[in-house]
């Protein structure tokens, strides 16, 4: 693997012979990261058209005052679907699509760490998309906005199934994102090529690696909230219903604890793209690699703690507002550092204005403006005036379109040659670019002023106030330009795919590993890898007389931990975030007791006994692992059976607790104690159950005697999960059963 030859240029084959007989299914059953990447991108493109058409219809309705093209409720459904689609079915999938395709290539890997999990993560996206849109047939799409504020989203106010489909769809999509993020983390940690140390990672890879951590921490938070919302709606729980003691503001906290990191989750892939494209077209290495890399970590950490700035107008109190304002201003610093780095990379470089670069330059300027209006939202008095106005709509579209979509366009033009083997047409590309720039700015710059004039967001029409008419018309006309740009893009993709100029391995003279293989890459990605000593291996080959300085130790040794364990540990982190939210929600309501049943209804001594069984099962499982290590099959089976029995006994104990409560007429809908108690313990019980199923599978495998020594790491990984479930129970036990005793 340490030869210096690059791969020979082999003809681009769409199918390999083995696949020929079922070639129609080849793309559906694929587990190849490149194909999955393409599927992600195509799905994203499809929903971009859907969401874009929805936006077009919205803008047509708003083009003139007092318009009656759309019914008010239809308008509400459309902006809800547009926002949800764009965020969860366009921006996230497209970002993950580029990562899926290029991250393994950039680190010289053959594939992602878990190819099947990868396919699973992808297929949840169309599945979620279908669920979301099925609501249209089931009584109407959700009409509650993309953040679905309670109590509007609760049954008394939204009685059709729209919100339920919305919540289930997002839950499914969340699981998919977490699965892919786990895969990304495991791939980067365990699948790097010799020489590709963590410090030599290309920035696109590094930034998306950091992003994956945000995903595994933030999306479970949303999923916990969605589960609670669904329990409210389907089982008559009370979490977010104020007149039963629930808290609508709690939904806002949970949603934005996810929602703010989500903003960065969406923009990070764009940061990664720009950090790759700008250096290549400036013919210089990135300025201040370490700063770009470290500022990503700073943003990721900070983003978890600043969600309150979405809630200044809720009435959190002056103290809370000030803290969140200051921390939100702070997050501008690492973001600004990045902008400085990109700009400095361009300064003094030999700039080449090919289409990818053009999009990146527009990205920079527009992102700067978005940043300025963004900071203005962290200033509480300003925010009070502009929140829920078109000023806000303009701001977030400057991020969503002006930055993210522009970066995605750059990535399409930059990487299409690698994916297809052919160049996109520069001429059509320039058309796309200029139409996009004109259309985008025409649509959204004016909206800042509309907002300052007082036009609220989410109104289906407006009175004929001075200037409002022409400003809105201008905004709508801009959309037509963007629609034309989208047509040019699709046209360009279609034509160039068949007739574009042959690209060759490295059409842009770029330096990262994806350009060291053929276009498109062969099934196994690389025939041979170049030596990797710096962050620009291809530069080092092309310029042997002045290579980049070696980064870190001059070694090609790589530590690659076991991927199964890494994956499970990552999964556990995301599960921990999920349970943390359920626990905090339980505490929140515990501290605000309602009339009716409370913790004193619970049987503490009995639960302690059953808890001991659960804790003992961790011990027995550990013994079983030891026995497996010593190749003592009988003893391993014995301990494993004991573990499963103990876990089962615990579940029986929980069942008895539930049974007694049901007997006395307490169920999820009784009061908030019951709602939060059943939710927390129910989800824990479910996890115990799933753990038991996993252990039963291992038991079966071990029984049949085909427990190859290589499998033991999978068994250990399952063990981690089991111990984790037990540790969660320690916290549940302390909060639910022990804490009330201290009263």
């Amino acid at each position: 693997m340490n030869g210096t030859t690059t791969a020979p240029a082999s003809p681009a084959t769409l199918l390999d012979p083995a696949e020929h007989w079922h070639h129609r299914l080849a793309w559906l059953s694929t587990v190849d990261h490149k194909r999955i990447g393409v599927l992600y991108l195509l799905t994203g493109l499809f929903f971009f058209v859907v969401g874009g058409l929805e936006a077009l219809v919205l803008r047509v309705q708003l083009a003139v005052p007092k318009n009656h093209f759309l019914q008010p409720d239809t308008f509400n459904q459309l902006f809800t679907m547009h926002g949800t689609t764009m965020i969860f079915l366009v921006v996230i999938p497209v970002g993950l699509g580029f990562v899926n395709y290029f991250l393994p290539l950039q680190i010289g890997a053959r594939d992602m760490a878990f190819p099947r999990l990868n396919a699973f993560g992808f297929w949840l996206i169309p599945f979620g998309g279908i669920l979301l849109h099925f609501s249209v047939l089931a009584g109407g799409a959700p009409a509650v906005g993309w953040f679905s504020y309670a109590p509007l989203s609760e049954t008394p106010y939204s009685s059709t199934l729209g919100v339920d489909y919305w919540a289930v769809a997002l839950f499914v999509l969340g699981i998919g994102s977490v699965a892919t993020a786990i895969n990304i983390i495991a791939t980067v940690i365990c699948r790097r090529a010799p020489g590709m140390t963590m410090r030599r990672l290309p920035l696109f890879t590094w930034i998306n690696f950091v992003n994956a951590f945000m995903i595994i921490l933030a999306l479970p938070v949303l999923n916990a909230g969605l589960a609670m919302l669904l329990i409210d709606r389907q089982l008559e729980g009370h979490f977010f219903l104020p007149f039963h003691g629930g808290s609508a503001v709690l939904w806002q906290h949970i949603f934005w604890a996810f929602g703010h990191p989500e903003v960065y989750i969406m923009v990070f892939p764009a940061f990664g793209i720009v950090s790759e494209v700008i250096p290549v077209f400036s013919r210089k290495p990135i300025f201040g690699y370490a700063f770009v890399a470290a500022s990503s970590v700073a943003i990721a950490v900070l983003s978890m703690g600043v969600w309150g700035h979405h809630m200044f107008t809720v009435g959190m109190g002056r103290a809370a507002n000030s803290f969140f304002a200051i921390s939100s201003l702070l997050i501008a610093i690492p973001t600004g550092v990045k902008v400085l780095n990109w700009t400095a990379t361009m300064i003094g470089g030999r700039l080449r204005f090919d289409v990818p670069m053009l999009f990146c330059i527009a990205f920079l300027i527009q992102f700067l403006l978005a940043g300025i209006t963004g900071i203005s939202h962290a200033v509480v008095p300003l925010d009070w005036q502009t929140k829920n106005s078109y000023f806000l709509v303009a701001h977030f579209h400057f991020v969503a379109v002006g930055a993210i979509v522009f970066a995605f366009f750059a990535a399409v033009y930059f990487w299409f040659p690698k994916m297809s083997g052919r160049m996109l047409s520069e001429r059509l590309g320039k058309w796309t670019f200029w139409l996009m720039v004109i259309g985008f700015n025409m649509t959204f710059i004016i909206q800042h002023f509309l907002g300052l004039l007082g036009m609220p967001r989410r109104v289906f029409t407006y009175p004929n106030l001075p200037h409002w008419g022409w400003m809105n018309m201008l905004s709508t006309v801009g959309v037509l330009f963007m629609a034309a740009a989208a047509l040019f893009l699709v046209w360009n993709l279609a034509v160039s795919f068949f007739r574009g100029k042959i690209a060759g391995d490295n059409p842009w003279n770029a330096w990262t590993l994806e350009w060291a293989t053929t276009s498109p890459p062969p099934h196994e990605n690389f025939h041979a890898l170049p030596p990797i000593r710096s962050r620009r291996p291809l530069w080092d080959i092309a310029n042997p007389d002045r290579p980049d300085p070696v980064v870190g130790e001059n070694t090609s040794e790589i530590e690659s931990p076991d991927k199964t364990k890494t994956g499970i540990l990552t999964f556990i982190v995301s599960e921990a975030a999920f349970f943390a939210i359920l626990l905090l929600a339980y505490l929140y309501f515990y501290a605000r007791p309602q009339p009716g049943p409370g913790p004193r209804e619970l049987d503490v001594p009995r639960t302690l006994v059953f808890s001991l069984c659960l804790f003992a099962s961790s011990f027995t499982l550990w013994r079983s692992e030891i026995a497996l290590g010593r190749q003592r099959r009988g003893s391993m089976l014995g301990w494993l059976v004991l573990t499963i029995t103990l876990g089962g006994v615990f579940l029986v104990g929980q069942g008895m607790e539930y049974w007694k409560l049901f007997q006395t007429g307490v169920d999820v809908s009784t009061n908030l104690f019951a709602t939060s108690f059943f939710t927390l313990t129910g989800f824990h019980g479910l996890h115990v159950f799933l753990g038991l199923v996993a252990l039963l599978i291992f038991l079966w495998l071990a029984w049949r005697g085909d427990f190859a020594p290589g499998r033991s790491s999978a068994f250990e990984a399952a063990g981690y999960y089991w111990h984790f479930v037990d540790i969660v129970w320690v916290f549940v036990l302390l909060t639910v059963y022990i804490l009330p005793l201290a009263r």
Binding site: A290, V301, G305, G317, F323, A591
Partner: protein, 256 residues
């Protein structure tokens, strides 16, 4: 008492504390002579004194939970960090203490220092009894030192690898933020003594009136202090880890 009078007259100069600091200085000088890094020691002592004699301390003494929180953060996170930084590279822990340098112990000490002393009974006791207050201060300093040792120990070999260090700091930050969040949103008083302060200094009316700090808002600020600014301290440390990682070609350690 007006705010101005309060800020100027409530410095609680304590002979014992000053003596302690002087002794620490002398001891430090005798032990390390020229090898020490005096500036850091100066920082540690200055922050230490500030936490215990300035008006913050007067407020923490039964008036304001948030002032107590400032004191708490300074004593757990700032003073020990400076102390460790002031140690010369040649410094080694005496034998019996090396057992305390396991990362898990350090982590538990750092997080435990936050959670333990905010158990209502302990928090109350530390505010009302001066003996327990001394125990609290000492334990905070020790636990903080155990926590920071993993990151700021004098020699590189004694520290966690940068990647492990980041995980260590991030999880600690999360664990403390969760407590901050609980304090911020708790509808009941975590430390009931602060609800009805005994107005020894005649300052209560300014606090409640002029400063606008009701006991609920006071607790909220305390929680927010633990949630937001404290996380920034951990974040700074995380960035320092990244800087250490990116500077100099030392071997890459485990990434997990």
């Amino acid at each position: 008492m007006t705010t101005y009078e309060f800020l100027t007259t409530t410095w609680r100069w304590s002979f014992l504390l000053l003596l302690f600091c002087a002794l620490a200085l002398v001891g430090y000088f005798l032990a390390f002579r020229r090898r020490g890094r005096l500036a850091y020691l100066g920082g540690a002592l200055a922050v230490f004194l500030f936490a215990l004699i300035s008006p913050v301390s007067a407020l923490a003494d039964g008036y304001l939970f948030s002032a107590h929180m400032v004191q708490h953060i300074l004593l757990v996170l700032i003073v020990p960090a400076f102390l460790l930084l002031s140690l010369p590279r040649s410094f080694s822990l005496p034998r019996p203490f090396t057992a305390l340098t396991h990362p898990l112990i350090g982590w538990m000490a750092g997080v435990g220092a936050m959670w333990l002393w905010h158990v209502p009974a302990l928090c109350n006791a530390a505010t009302t009894s001066s003996a327990i207050s001394v125990i609290q201060t000492t334990s905070l300093l020790l636990m903080g030192s155990a926590f920071w040792w993993q990151v700021l120990a004098p020699r590189d070999a004694q520290r966690l690898s940068p990647a492990a260090g980041i995980a260590y700091l991030f999880t600690a930050c999360t664990a403390c933020s969760v407590l901050g969040i609980i304090l911020t949103f708790a509808p009941v008083s975590i430390c009931p003594v602060y609800q009805q302060p005994v107005d020894r200094l005649g300052i209560l009316s300014s606090i409640r009136g002029q400063w606008g700090l009701t006991s609920e808002r006071d607790q909220q600020i305390g929680g927010l202090l633990m949630w937001v600014p404290m996380c920034l301290i951990y974040l700074t440390a995380i960035l320092a880890q990244l800087a250490r990682w990116h500077s100099g070609p030392h071997p890459e350690k485990s990434n997990a």
